[in-house]
Each structure stands twice: as structure tokens, then as C-alpha cells.
């Protein structure tokens, strides 16, 4: 539905990818670990290898959680933009299909947070 207005109603979106200096926004959520209250948002270069995301980016976000060191990354399951997804660690984020404002969720089987509370 278009906006009811007194004239032409066309404005630029504020978060176009070109506003982020060569990066694209990526959202992550570590499922069933709500010690981190919400998914996080990071501007990342689309050419970054997926392996760097796992080895360098995610520890900076999540390593305060006692479960983080226990993650067996071979068992982790992922969704990308709500569809099942198997990342190719050697390929870039873009070649793995991550676009601007993509949402990456991951589940770590066997780890259920602080005292099993999913926190």
C-alpha cells in the first residue's frame, strides 16, 4: 500500500549498502543462548572468507559465554535468511550467498546455556 500523502511520496532508504563504506550489514544469532540478549549486527566486507567469520569474528562477539569454547563447529547447524544452509568455509561471504542485511542463525547441539535455561 502506498503512503497516503499530500504529494509525491518517494524517499531514499537510509540503509542502502553503498552507505556502509564497502561493507555489508550481517546479522548473527547464536540460538538458545540468550545471555546475549539479541542478535548482533556487524558491517563486514562481502569478500571475507566464511572461515574468518567463524575463527575471528564470532569469538569476539560470543567468547564471554562459558559454552563458547565447547562448540564443536562440525556439528553446528545454520540457517541463512531462514533457509537451511551449509557454509563453505573456503568461500567468501558473498559466494556463500550472504547479502546486505542477511540473517545468519546457528544452533550448537548439546549446549543449552546457563544451567540449561537457554541463556
Amino acid at each position: 500500500m502506498s503512503v497516503a500523502s499530500i504529494g509525491k511520496y518517494e524517499f531514499e532508504p537510509l540503509d542502502k549498502v553503498e552507505n556502509f563504506h564497502g561493507n555489508q550489514l550481517t546479522y548473527f544469532n547464536w540460538e538458545q543462548h540468550l545471555l546475549f540478549c539479541a542478535p548482533v549486527c556487524l558491517p563486514l566486507p562481502p569478500e571475507m572468507p566464511f572461515a574468518a567469520l567463524v575463527q575471528e569474528v564470532l569469538p569476539g562477539v560470543y567468547n564471554k559465554h562459558p559454552d563458547f569454547q565447547k562448540i564443536n563447529w562440525d556439528e553446528v547447524t545454520w540457517t541463512l535468511d531462514q533457509a537451511d544452509f551449509t557454509p563453505d568455509m573456503g568461500k567468501s561471504l558473498a559466494d556463500n550467498g550472504l547479502g546486505h542485511k542477511s540473517l545468519l542463525r546457528f544452533w550448537t547441539p548439546g549446549l543449552d546455556g546457563i544451567k540449561g535455561s537457554h541463556s
Binding site: 537510509l14 556502509f20 547479502g99 540473517l103
Partner: protein, 505 residues
Amino acid sequence: MSGKRKSKLGIKQRYSMLTRGLGWDTTYQDMDKVFPYDNYEGIIIHDWDGWEDPFRLTMDAYWKFQSEKEKKLYAVIDSFAQNNGHLGITDARYVNALKLFLTGVSPLEYQAARGFTHVGRQFRGVGPRVACQMQAIDELRHVQTQIHSMSHYNKYFDGLHSAPHMHDRVWYLSVPKSFFDDARTAGPFEFLTSISFAFEYVLTNLLFVPFMSGAAFNGDMATVTFGFSAQSDEARHMTLGLEVIKFMLEQDERNIPIVQRWMDKWFWRGTRMLALVAMMMDYMLPKRVMSWREAWDIYFTEAGGALFADLARYGIKPPKYADIATKEAEHISHQAWHIFYNYTHAAAFHTWVPEKDELDWLSEKYPNTFDKYYRPRLEYLDKEEKAGRRFYNDTLPMLCQVCQIPMGFTDMDDPTTISFEVSEYNGDKYHTCSLGCRDIFDYEPAKYVQAWLPVHQIYQGNCGGAEVPDVLKWYNFNLGADNLEYNGSPDQKLWDEWQAHRKKA
């Protein structure tokens, strides 16, 4: 001229002369050109005189009432300051509720003044114009008296020094700010539905009453007195809210679906903003009034239920997703407080883990959920804090495109899983936290793609710099005083010193 003058007009006649008698139909310009805003939203009005003003208040009487209230209020404010009223509050943690109110709510009073001034000009009917003009002045009075009531605390406590500056910049204050920006950029009838009806009528008891009774329970006489002083104004505003709805619904049945959609939208936006009040009630008041769950049951389920039963004769249904909002009452305060606990290094107020008796109170008030989902986490955070490892979340959160709250709310049927919704518009993705927010986006995507989302703005480089301390300076925070954990804060230190002196004396 007979020479004989009637000395006094009757009340009805006087009201008519001083309201309706002030308007006229323009002749050398088309009325549609003089009032271009009151018909583009699709609301059809056949007879502007169908507007009823139950208060029949005229401007001269208005000034007289208001000045009497001001005299009383300022006498109390002066005596509160002279008698060091801040020493009588229950605990310095309480002041954090005032910080949230002054930075989050008081600037909305000013936004409301601007909104009502605008629509007061734009309605061609004199009845609603006069009502809106009076409300505009009320709102200006409220922002002033709130600042004056709370200014005393600013002499002693941190985080109260830059409310308007912070309101325009700080990440969580974009939640209330964007709510009002959305309302003020809508047409005049939607503005009245959002602010006068959804906010002032349906949800006000969940905003105003908790803050004011919270103040009374916690010994804050300045704020209580302000609350009393505003009460008769609020009663008038509520009446305006109900009147505008009835007016639209009675004028033309084609108005009904438009009004229903606005009610659905603004109910949902309102409940999202009330998450801030929910956490205030359950976590920030050292002496609790009632739980958020109880407040919701009384003020929305019961009182709101009666209201919507009354509106059913016009063909109006209860707001869409009211059932989800009612389920949320069980979780929302805990989830909202956890968001602020995560990011309190970037907030202008303190957070903390409740003390043991306070946790027990929450267990008792939320028997089905608190011990299962929230207590273990809070006890863990407490342990970490006491061991010198106070937990902060170092990465900026994903925000909802519509309500702008970090995406910390869960699926209410699955309270350990975050709720995600997404829409596509012109090739870009837009994420929302709930079906309610997604519906709002999907109906007017061209509006919400312009949202100034604080996290994205920081990453674009528009908020003072790339590092968090740069951003906090841009917010005008005194680092190490306004922000961070309550335990160990300058506020706590000062309060403890006062208590020690009191014991000695």
C-alpha cells in the same frame, strides 16, 4: 441599539461564542486550500458541528484553572528542594526510573505539543481545533513542569543533565522518539488516533499510573505532585481521544476500516514502547507497586476489554495481536531489562541484578516463567558481577525496523527463541521483531525505509566516530558516571555516604 446590554451570557451560550463563534468559512479562498490536510487520509466528515466537547472549556476558564494548579505545584517543588526531598526516597536505584522518564517520556510531551499545535491548525472544524490547541498548551506545560520537578535530582545524581540532546541521539531513546515521529508525520486524524486514543486513552493507565504510583511508593513527592497536577489535563485528553474516535465512526461508515487499521497499528506500537514501563515496574522500583503482569491484566485486559465491547456497536474489533500482547505480559519486562543489562555501558542510567528478596518477589509474581527462564540467568550475572567480571555485550544489536528496539523479544509460545520477521522492499531486506511490527512495515514500506536506526547510523559513521566511547561522547554522556552498572557507581557511593551520615546522626 436598545442601549440595554445583557450583563452575562449563559454557560452554553458563552461556550458557543468562544469556540464555534470564532470560526468562519473562507470566501475568497477555497476551504480545501486553506485546510489541505484534513481530507487526504480518506476520512469523510459530513458535519463538523457533530463534534461534541464534553468539557465545554473556554480559553479564559482554561487559563484560570491552569494557573491555580501551577501555583500549588510550584509551592511543593520549592518545598521539596528546600527540605532536601531527595533524601526521602527509598533508594538511589529509584532515580534511574526518573532518568528514563526524563530522557524518554518528557521530550514526548514536547513532541505532543508540536503535534497538537499542527493539527489544531489543520482541522476545519472549530470544536476539534480548540480542543487540540488547549492540549498543545497542556503538553508544553507538562514538559516544563516535569523538567522543573526533576531538576532537583540533577543537582545530585548522574544522567539527568542532557535530556533533549540525548532524546535525539541515544539508541534506546529512538524507540519513543520514532514513535512520535511516526505519529506527527501522519495526517491529523491518524495523529489523534495514535496519540489521543491509543496512547492517552487505551494505554495511558499503563504509562502514567505506574510512574506516578511508583513515585508515591518510593517517596518521590516532587514527581507525585506533578502527576496530580497533570491528572485533570489527562482526563481531558482521554475524553478528546474517545471523542475523535466516535466522531470519525459516526460521520461515515467508510471511515470504519481506516480507524480499525490505525487502532491496530498504534496499539501495537504503544505496547512495544510500554516494554520500557514494564521493566521499570518489575526491576527499577525499589518498592514495587504491582507487577507488569498484574498491571496489564487490570488496565488492558479488563479496562480495555470494556472499552472495545463498547466500540463494538460501531463495528470496531479489539486491536489485532492483543492476544500476543497479553502473552507478552509474562515475559516482556524480563527481556527488556536484559537488553539494558547487556548494553548499560551505552545507557544514561544504571542497571543491576535485583537483590534476593526482589528475585523472590519476581518468582512469586511470575510463577510459571521466572524461575524457568530468567532467574538462572540473573543469578549467573550476579555471580559474575561479584567476581569482578560484570557482563556487558560488546557487539551492537540488530534492531527492529519499526519499533527500533533491539531484537530481544522471543516467540511467546517458545520463550527461548527470538522472534524474527522479514519483508522485502525494492530489493532490500527489512527485519522486524513481531507480526505486529511487520504488518506496520508492510502497509507503508516507503515510510519505514527512512527509519533512522541508531546501530546502522553508527556503522555509517554518522554518530561521532567509529569507537563506542566516541559515540557516547556524541551522546553527551559523562563516561563512568552516567553509564555502567549501579554497584560501584558514583550515584551509589553518594547515597551510601548519606545513609552512613544518617546513621551517625
